[in-house]
Point group: C2
Chain length 394, copies 2
């Protein structure tokens, strides 16, 4: 399948990015990233729901509701997960020293890590590199930043959109990383999204929580949940429009659409870079009891190893039906229909004797699949994105 | 890993088994199985919770509460799932004709199918072969029966125990099939357990529901749920003890233990025969909030592709912690410990610097793994059984 290209992204008022190499795990490459935000920048975030979340996630969950950010620090190569008290100390020291460097409250500093789980974290490495890191920040440094957060990613990942609020131009720039699966440990998705829009944190958070359910919460590679997944959305407020105070404000609609496109682009770039995968697969579920039910049915198919192997051997139908049935959402067995690239394969609970097998087989052999399943009970719909079975398991 | 051997099983009063070849999918082998039970035999059963369950499962779910059985008919090679009205008609015709052959109510006839999903079922094949099938039944025919229900199984599967109720000898004989994963469609587990004990259906059902949670509900190969999974437990009442009327009756204890052993043996035989798997893996979870929570945590690890691949590359720790965290059950990150074959690998939320890596690596390279995870919040415990990543996914 096609990997996503890194887009041209211009400077964004109020944001500077930097990176240095500190050798936490990798040699001869940047592995420590900083975003500096001008005072007054609002922040919202979403984090893994894991009960064994990494130390930096625990800090962010606790402080995100403060809604203000002055800097974000993130490392690649060690997840700082299952690292006990030492891991917590690393986070505390990083936050304290960064806050001192910027002369801001500690709760305006956010942190993220990605890499191996359960590997002792070198406690002093990040704190000792913070001064150099701060010196490295500059405007218009997106590609360097996107490269510094990579782990098993084969390409840097980013997306950009410009839109308007009240006729004032507004930009959204984002970078992300993740391929879901690394040997010998699990990868993570980290995402840093920036805008110059003037939107307070509670409105930003509402918007983000809604959009995340249609983007990152609709992708899966192998169905597992990282200890470190994090997405930050920072709004510097430098754009020249009147302040937005309500997530339902119709003036926000173009911005919300643009933000959804940025998140969709980066999340798809992650799926496309999944280690070992050969196909990018969109599964659209219709006729479900609700949008939420449709998403659950979709993800049940998209994360089933049996379905994913089936996509490779070009006979996924029985397994798709199995996965619809197993997730517990309502489905009418005798109304269920399936399409492949719009061609009807099954209808009224039967695989059709005379479906256009030539066209369908050709589609399934390709690297960009579009499958549809109607479960015949309501009007809920959702699209989810996944890959064929992604790893040469040996 | 070692496959389970088929045991010597003697006749069981009130049970006859038979098999014929009717060519539904396979050639030159038996593919249709019948169990004939003497009038008055009690039956209990558990079935897949799938919302897209196969036609025979729908019939059984509806009729199992009747509690009486005269015959069971089961085919291999076609799951009769996603086969619409034709599938239902096949079941109805099979039940009607079998009931006529035995001169019993239709609700005393049970059916099961296993094989490909979504392949049209030849409507007349089973009904046309029922007379021959009835003629084939005889006492002491366990191996033939176990072979007739195989699909991708490489060995027939069975287990037997003798025990006592009130000093009277009681026997339990069972056969099963399943390898979980077939190309191009999913396999199923079907299980037929017989005893001469004198236990009414409601007591039998209570006993079964409890034991199934510690046996079949604790095994997983790839975490998917079949449209066809079925287990039947039939009690002919020929043993010479007084009737049992209460599942809590202490006289039942030795029988309950023996039944659990039979179900555990067959369910383990299924895991050991999982297509492509090389390791039999027992994961014991302790310190959970409840036994149920322990099982959920265990199955979260046991069905994670990342963990299963990790077992193959001998570095599963980080992924195990991830899988503990993702299932939503309570776990204390800073109390979590891990053992491999009893050797401590992680303690108090840290991988130990000085654990006995030689012994642990040697154990992980073997084909019979015993892993332990204590999540440090309570006294709930459970053991689950799985394999390493089971399929050469290409």
């Amino acid at each position: 399948m096609k990997l996503s290209a890194f887009p041209d992204m211009g400077p964004l008022a109020g944001v500077k990015l930097g990176a240095v190499a500190c050798g936490i795990n990798y040699q001869d490459r940047n592995d420590l990233f900083m975003a500096e935000l001008e005072p007054g920048t609002a922040i919202a975030g979403v984090f893994t729901r894991s009960r064994t979340a990494a130390a930096p996630v625990l800090w962010c969950r606790e402080n995100i509701a403060g809604g203000k950010v002055r800097a974000i620090v993130s490392n690649a190569g060690n997840a700082n997960a299952f690292t006990g008290r030492h891991g917590d100390k690393t986070v505390q020291d990083t936050v304290t020293r960064t806050a001192k460097l910027f002369g801001c409250p500690r709760k305006q500093i956010f942190v993220a890590s990605t890499g191996s789980i359960g590997v002792p974290f070198p406690v002093d490495t990040i704190p000792n590199n913070l001064s150099a890191l701060k010196k490295s920040v500059k405007r218009d440094n997106w590609l360097t930043a996107a490269q510094a957060i990579m782990t098993t990613d084969t390409v840097p990942k980013g997306a950009t959109r410009t839109t308007e609020i009240d006729d004032a131009p507004v930009t959204i720039n984002g970078i992300g990383k993740g391929t879901q699966m690394i040997s010998p440990d699990m990868a993570t998705t980290l995402n840093f999204i920036f805008t110059d829009a003037k939107i307070p944190a509670p409105v930003l958070q509402k918007l983000l929580s809604r959009i995340i359910d249609r983007t990152y919460n609709c992708i899966t590679v192998e169905g597992d949940t990282s200890t470190n997944d994090s997405l930050f959305l920072c709004a510097t407020g430098k754009a020249e429009h009147k302040r937005i105070t309500d997530a339902a404000d119709p003036r926000l609609r173009p911005f919300a659409r643009a933000l959804e496109e940025v998140l969709r682009d980066i999340s798809h770039a992650i799926v496309r870079d999944a280690t070992g995968a050969k196909k990018f697969v969109a599964i659209t579920v219709t006729g479900a009891a609700s949008a939420r039910a449709a998403r659950r049915i979709g993800l049940s198919m998209a994360s089933s190893t049996l379905v994913k192997v089936g996509l490779r051997i070009a006979n996924p139908w029985g397994r798709m039906i199995m996965a619809v049935g197993k997730c517990g959402e309502r489905a009418d067995r005798d109304q269920l229909s399936i399409t492949a690239n719009g061609v009807l394969v099954a209808e009224h609970g039967n695989i059709l004797d005379d479906y256009d097998a030539d066209r369908v087989t050709k589609h399934l052999k390709g690297s960009e699949l579009a499958l549809g399943v109607d479960v015949g009970v309501g009007r809920g719909r959702a699209t989810v994105w996944t890959t064929d079975c992604s790893v040469g398991y040996g």
